[in-house]
Amino acid sequence: MEQGKNTIEPVKAEDFLPAVIHCKMQGWRLVQLCATRLPGRYELSYSFAKDLALRTLRLVVDETDRVPSITQIYPGAFLQENEMAELFGVQVADISRDYRQKLYRIARETPFKEKG
């Protein structure tokens, strides 16, 4: 089946923003942001697409690490970054439209942080 490229590339925290800027320069568009819970850490996936190819940058951060926002590069990311912050408790720094944990205004704090 002709699927187009679909890759996952791990990046280090210090290379992360340059990698995103690089994607932007080459004309990739933002597809999605996703956080996944690992024991004591978060696995963040940032997917970009160009034509039919899809590439995902994979960043693993500690619970207390502050992750830089990519809204300065891709302004459309603000909704998904707020969602990551509210549902998982990922510390995202400097979102252009920061809802400060009030995007969905749910009763339970960071429900995805604990399993089950």
Partner: protein, 145 residues
């Protein structure tokens, strides 16, 4: 039936449903099902509505909205919970953000189960609501007399 039960105005609000029942409620107002043959008009204004159709369970944010809409409607009023989520919470009952059915927030008069509730069932529920509306109206007038 008296005048009110012959030309009730209907208000629809989406609690936190999946859209399925909402489009079925809208489908009821269009040809093929045509709820307007009972004299019903779909309005967008709570101040003029007699019947409130709510679809979907209630989450922590829509709670205040539903309460407000209910309080804005003039007495007598009837609430119809459309779809199994509005009745009990349905498949979403276990979700962290769902409080449960509509009756956890406001009193419900008619329950229409189904996922998604079929237009026939919704119309049936609304017609039941008309009877209840009439009873409530008589009680309302008796209280005032």
């Amino acid at each position: 039936m008296a005048k009110l039960a012959k030309s009730p105005w209907l208000l629809h609000y989406d609690g936190s449903s999946c859209n399925g029942c909402d489009i079925e409620v809208l489908a009821c107002t269009t040809p093929v099902y045509d709820i307007e043959r009972f004299g019903i008009i779909n309005t967008g204004d709570p101040f003029q509505a007699d019947i409130l159709l709510i679809t979907g369970g209630i989450n922590h944010q829509s709670e205040a909205v539903v309460k407000q809409i209910y309080s804005q409607m003039p007495d007598p009023k009837v609430v119809v919970a459309v779809g199994i989520c509005a009745c009990t919470g349905g498949v979403f009952k276990d979700c962290y953000n769902i409080k449960g059915g509509v009756d956890t927030v406001i009193p419900v008069d008619v329950y229409v189960p189904g996922c998604a509730a079929r237009p026939q069932a919704i119309i049936d529920g609304v017609v039941k609501a008309l009877e209840i509306l009439q009873q409530k109206r008589e009680a309302f007038l008796a209280r005032r007399a």
